[in-house]
Amino acid sequence: MVMTRLLPLAALFFLGGCSGTWGWYVVNPSTAAGQRNLMFLIDGLYYTIALSVTAILISIFLGLMVALPGLARQRPPRMVNRVYVELVRAVPILVLILWVYYGLPQVADISISVFWAGVLALAISDSAFQAEIFRAGIQSIDRGQHEAAHSISLSYVDKMRFVILPQAIKRILPALGNQLVYMLKMSSLVSVIGMEELTRRANELVVTEYRPLEIYTVLVIEYLVLILVVSAGVRWLEMRMGAADRR
């Protein structure tokens, strides 16, 4: 049903590229100007990836640090976990980006680069979700594993590092993959403070070339390819870790 409506539209879309009202020339790789524009757009990939990967590494670490007190038997650490998760989850990412970039330097009297402001905001925002993922993952591990670790006198850190987390991470890998995809998409928001990633570059090119349809179409394809590749990578990793278990 949807397909039958979309099909003519898609045909129009590509055929339109040849007609006068469409301007694929802006990104036509066979012309020098088109090639320059295309490279300009694709170069944004570097910052999109750098932002997302740095942010997700930090958010995984933060998330784990927030998840652990959430698993404590006592109430105070559990409250710390709850408050952090609820607060951070309530703030829109875009608002957090603006606040970190424009607000934080005034509060803390520091200067922060666009890149690190973006990383920080993305990481904090994502860490609340990572904390929930880790908490669920760790809770899914059988109590007997904790008890066995205790019975051979492992310290808390050793127990987590060698017994609990390796098993938990294997289970939450699909969720972590989702978060990475989510992060790659959310990094486009950092364009508002001037980060030269994919979306920002597309915006800049539109301003000079007046060809939003073609340029944003390229942008869509860039994200699509990037995320399909990442998804495939995550699936491969899952399979490999799954295989290690069945070895």
Partner: protein
């Protein structure tokens, strides 16, 4: 290499000779609550070095809770538990005593599924006792030999049968070179044809002078191994006696009924 265990045993024995009691493990008026429910009710028990105690009793009577309190998987609410003269609490001294003295084997094995048998066995010695990898491997090989599965060292737990897994779990506990082994229904999760191989290993261990507390309903095994039988009901120790007396002339009615039920099957 294995001499260290014996050296420590004699040391411990010598250390105690000057002290007040001769009991290696002593429980004094121990109670444990889960909420309002009293899982252990004023339990007192003394166990000498090298003694073997078999605990039995109906389901929910507190057998697991009792031995879990001895290695602090559960913390008791009142009374006192002491091992080798050291009172069990949150102190580092208590932790050291547990680390150096107490091993535990669980009903569900609780092997680490993501680690090979070798890694299961060496993790404790390397991380908790600071042993180097080479020495830890030797130790692991020695104890795997003793539980009669030396050839499985590179495999993963799920590749072994239940009986083999439980023997690995016993070896894992032994690798910490404890003086006391706690067993919580070590054969209850096993298929009948595998029970014998595990009991045989435990019996050999008993023969080597290990102090043991074993929760089990394998009464034949208990008769061979136990110095003393302990019968529990409703969180209390109802009866304790040497196995001959325990089986032939149980004093309490509850114990009689229990034995009749269990021996009928």
């Amino acid at each position: 290499m294995r001499d260290s265990t014996h050296a420590r045993s004699t040391q411990a024995a010598a250390g105690r000779a000057g002290g007040s009691g001769t009991d290696f493990i002593s429980l004094r008026h121990v109670s444990k609550f889960f909420g309002d429910f009293r899982a252990l009710d004023d339990v007192s028990l003394d166990i000498g070095l090298g003694q073997k105690i078999v605990i039995c009793g109906p389901s929910g009577s507190g057998k697991s809770t009792l031995i879990r309190c001895i290695n602090r998987l559960e913390t008791h609410d009142s009374g006192e538990i002491a091992i080798d003269g050291v009172r069990l609490d949150d102190s580092t001294a208590a932790r050291a005593v547990l680390r150096n003295n107490v091993g535990m084997v669980f009903q569900q094995f609780n092997l680490f599924p993501h680690l090979s048998i070798l890694e299961n066995l060496t993790l404790g010695p390397v991380r908790a006792r600071g042993m180097d990898q080479v020495a830890a491997r030797e130790l692991a090989e020695y104890y795997l030999e003793r539980v009669k599965i030396p050839e499985q060292i590179e495999k993963y737990p799920h590749q072994l049968s239940g009986g083999q897994q439980q023997r690995v779990a016993i070896a894992r506990a032994l690798c910490m070179e404890p003086q006391i082994m706690l067993f919580d229904e070590p054969t209850s999760a096993l298929d009948p044809e595998m029970i014998a191989e595990v009991l045989e290993v435990i019996e050999e261990l008993a023969g080597s002078g290990m102090t043991m507390i074993c929760v089990t309903h394998e009464m034949g095994f208990a008769g061979h191994v136990a110095d003393r039988m302990v019968f529990m009901d409703h969180g209390k120790i109802v009866e304790t006696a040497p196995p001959q007396d325990f089986f032939s002339k149980p004093k309490s009615d509850r114990c009689k009924t229990f034995l009749q039920q269990i021996l009928r099957h």
